[in-house]
Subunit: 299 residues, 2 copies
């Protein structure tokens, strides 16, 4: 099996791995996201050491990164992290740095496009061509796979920033998105829950009313995504979705919101297999990066 | 040039044509949408008469239809109009009837996917691969083109039914969608404007406050669509968009709503060429149907 490198480039930590799939991971490293120079140097050294020690050459390295990213191959800033609020990381040429320091072909995409691709190859969306992966955690993002490939369009989807109905009489919280206030991420990300509660949402019992609110916002977002792209399946991952009691509520609310308008069995009766958790667990991110490198090498 | 037939199957009228593009339309007919039997018979007779009189064979017929439609080729009800509220038209096998009565290959897609395709071949989206066409008229719908082809996913997009923020203190109107009340179509379609005003919206001057409200809902929908699929361009057609004064307001509001988050010149500075009217005018629909037939014949 040809070996690939993968980097899950997150806002708080980087995970690097070498392998060819979930059952073939030969080396792994994880370290905190500090400055771009320090963090990218550690990532490059991980792959270089692997190649020296094993006397093998990686067929390519994939980066599944936080964003926003410039993914237009014709752009002078292709492969850059662009307008992130993360200090020090604006306009970082993450792809170019890895390419220059490892000599391997490097492909980059959003963390959620990578995760979506990995779930399609090894996880909850095998056999499907057109589906969505959403992460609800520190941030909210969505990856869209079309015909088995990550979709970009003008830039790439930013599903965390869709506007949602927000009933201020039921939920006076103004939202925490610095750009949009009460967009999906502003209302329903982990930090939004924490800010409302004044405590870590993981410590709050499943019968607390905040979970009904949370399920409602996620269901509104799913209604939105279903009406815009009609995915064959929606995978919901991320830290907040560790609250597995949310799944049945989200399925019920999504069905209620759609109200039978879209005549598809998946939405009318089979929401248990339509709105699903990821299968790859904490490895989804780095496996997504490996999947990106594999797919790029096949072209 | 091989000749194709096209049917724009609308809720109030059918338009049929034979040709190969906007400058090569050899025959046209339009008639009101009555019962399925009567309407589909007239459509089939139009094509059959053309073929007899000209001693030519159509390479295929495309139908760009109101919906919702079953577009899954593996489904027993493939090519049916399904859950439409239009009396008598539920579960009508529109594709099968045309196929049986003309003997030509028949392909069907949504009216908006057809219009989107036609605008990509001959109109406002030439040269683009991933874009959206939205019609705001009697109903609201959106077509999504990915890699130059109409996108379906599970069923097909239903962009008129996305939920939107609705500030009841500014706009107490409850919305008119029988399924969702105040979804995009429920708030912003032509009939929603008419119900709010108690008169035909076409008779209302451009400085009437309803147009600010309308531009705001359309801009919220565009923010949603941009965040979900990141199209390379958005074409806005349909009867309501004949109010061309809406375009600059929608562009400004969309930019304001996105608030600089998505770093793409098209959204930051060049919204004049990002949010555009269709170029094909009243022929978009039937040309879309012809485009569907042409594309199907190339496969």
């Amino acid at each position: 099996m040809p070996l690939f490198g993968g980097i899950e480039a997150g806002g708080t930590k980087f995970i690097c791995a070498v392998g060819s799939g979930p059952d073939e991971l030969l080396a792994q490293a994880r370290f905190p996201t500090t400055t771009p120079e320090e963090t990218l140097t550690r990532a490059a050294e991980f792959f270089n050491q692997f190649m020296v020690q094993t006397q093998t050459r990686l067929h390519g390295i994939g980066i599944a990164s936080f964003g926003p990213l410039d993914l237009d191959p014709h752009s002078p800033t292709y492969g850059f992290i662009t307008s992130t609020p993360k200090p020090g990381w604006q306009n970082v040429a993450i792809r170019d740095v890895l390419l220059a320091r490892t000599g391997c072909p490097v492909v980059i995409d959003t963390d959620v496009n990578g995760a979506a691709l990995a779930e399609g190859i090894w996880g909850s969306a095998t056999g499907l061509s057109d589906y969505v992966y959403i992460t609800v955690g520190t941030g909210i993002g969505g990856g869209l796979i079309v015909q088995g490939r990550p979709f970009h369009g003008l830039l790439h989807p930013e599903m965390g920033h869709i506007p949602l109905p927000h009933d201020l009489t039921k939920d006076p919280f103004p939202g925490i998105c610095p750009f949009h206030g009460d967009c999906f991420e502003g209302l329903a990300s982990g930090p939004a829950l924490q800010a409302r509660l004044g405590q870590n949402p993981e410590t709050v019992p499943s019968n607390h009313p905040i979970w009904d609110l949370e399920a409602n916002y996620i269901a509104l977002a799913l209604q939105t995504i279903i009406c815009v792209v009609s995915p064959q399946r929606i995978i919901l991952g991320g830290g907040v979705m560790q609250q597995t009691h949310l799944f049945p509520r989200i399925r019920d609310l999504t069905r209620t919101l759609l109200n039978g308008y879209i005549q598809a069995r998946a939405l009318l009766e089979e929401t248990d297999s339509y709105i699903v958790p990821p299968k790859l667990g904490s490895l989804t991110g780095v496996l997504g990066a490996i999947a990106l490198a594999q797919q790029a090498s096949e072209n």
